[in-house]
Amino acid sequence: MPEDINLEIFNADPITEDVSDAAPQAGTEAAPKTYAPLDAAAESQADLSAEMKSIGEAYAEALKNGAKAEIQPRLDYAPYRSSVLRHPTKDLHHADPETIELYSPAFGHMDVHALESDLTIQHNGEPLGERILVSGRVLDGDGRPVAGQLVEIWQANSAGRYIHKRDQHPAPLDPNFTGVGRCITGADGSYSFTTIKPGAYPWKNHLNAWRPAHIHFSLFGQEFTQRIVTQMYFPGDQLFPLDPIYQSIVDQDARDRLVASYDHDLTKPEWALGYKWDIVLTGSKRTWTENEAFGTAGDDNE
């Protein structure tokens, strides 16, 4: 139930270090809300853009020489400064998934209430901002619908502020918007959320770093190997070329898979604009029976 969204959990925050990647500014805890001071040590967008450009050019060259198109972000992508010490340096080890990895946890309406997919009704009043619908289908790499599985989302409010206490962006919190939603996919793999369009958001990767507006998505497939966490973006965002997280996916076709499309058929008159975004998980590693292929996991099988 929306009212059960637990404020204690917001405060049970695992993050103690500054979420910025630049050195913390002295005295920020006591400082009044001001815009981040210019930090002489911080790198400029031009520096970062040049780095990203050279990685992009090297990739284009590799493609020309017959390299395979990359479909995932690079784990080692230095322009996102926090990744430098947080990526494995050894190649991922190829493994055949076994036993438990060929199945997924089961989720259902015992776990998620139907109203949790509407992020605009979790408080007494209406949140501020542009109301939107975000809908699509979750499919596996073989085109099968991922039915009866858990989708979780979280996002900033319309002003670009997360409710998270470590978010020190001096933009207003919205008492009527938490920014967390969940749903269980339908038999056809469909999901749908009602929410508010999130604002762009500043972070401290470098000086004047802004994230394009995005919604975080967490998805389960029918096999644990299909588990992903990702971000959905909005079409036409001017911040795409400047953002190291979006750019960590070096292939343009792959990047485009994270961008929703505006869908006028989804748009509801006098109510909300509609965005459509289909999500494709990796292909199945399991030999499926007909029942499994057409059935659902969880308790969504009415």
Partner: protein
């Protein structure tokens, strides 16, 4: 389903710093009530390439029950205190430490034509600064014979192999650290390569 369409997967992205109000939920790390019969603690620290604990990582585990059965029961997000669902989620604390209360996983049925796998827990790792989730496994330290026959472990050299095997604590629990980078870097898995079933040309 005879001629399925091949689709290209959607890329992952980092979980970012602000999952703390979204992904954790009540009793997320308690697959069993702490102290209940058969329960053990699985714990460890997540480290970065400088050897520092990472305070903003979040882990998920997925495992069979103590008999080796894959559980197909809902209720992971709203725990009733009795149903073992096999799934748990734990954000690390300030010192990079995660904790789960769970069961020792039992040995699962061997895949026909393949040697028996030693019991393990499947793990997904997410963190700010980590561009995409990583998969790995944590094996129980007992039963050397099964460990030696395990297809994954036997494909690794001794040092790499040791990163996937937990230590048994005096209280019966398991301790297992994750190193994202550097000395003792944990083995992370790719299920999509040519070695993965079905994808071979």
């Amino acid at each position: 389903m005879s001629n399925p369409t091949k689709l290209t997967p959607t890329p992952g992205q980092t979980v970012g710093p602000f999952y703390g109000y979204a992904l954790p939920y009540e009793k997320d790390r308690e697959l069993l009530a702490p102290g209940s019969p058969g329960s053990i603690r699985l714990q460890g620290t997540v480290y970065d390439g400088a050897g520092h604990p990472i305070p903003d990582a979040i882990l998920e585990i997925w495992q069979p029950d103590s008999e080796g059965n894959v559980v197909h029961r809902t209720g992971s997000m709203v725990r009733d205190g009795y149903t073992f669902t096999g799934f748990g989620r734990s954000a690390v604390g300030n010192t990079g430490v995660y904790t789960f209360t769970t069961l020792n996983p039992g040995p699962t049925e061997p895949v026909p034509g393949k040697p028996a796998a030693a019991p393990f827990i499947s793990v997904a790792v997410f963190a700010r600064g980590l561009m995409n989730r990583l998969f790995t496994r944590v094996y129980l330290p007992e039963n050397e014979e099964a460990l030696a026959a395990d297809p994954l472990l036997s494909s690794l050299d001794a040092e790499r192999r040791s990163t996937l095997i937990a230590r048994r604590d005096a209280d019966g629990g398991l301790t297992w650290d994750i190193r994202l980078q550097g000395e003792g870097e944990t083995v992370f898995l790719d299920f999509e390569g040519a070695a993965a079933g079905g994808a071979a040309q």
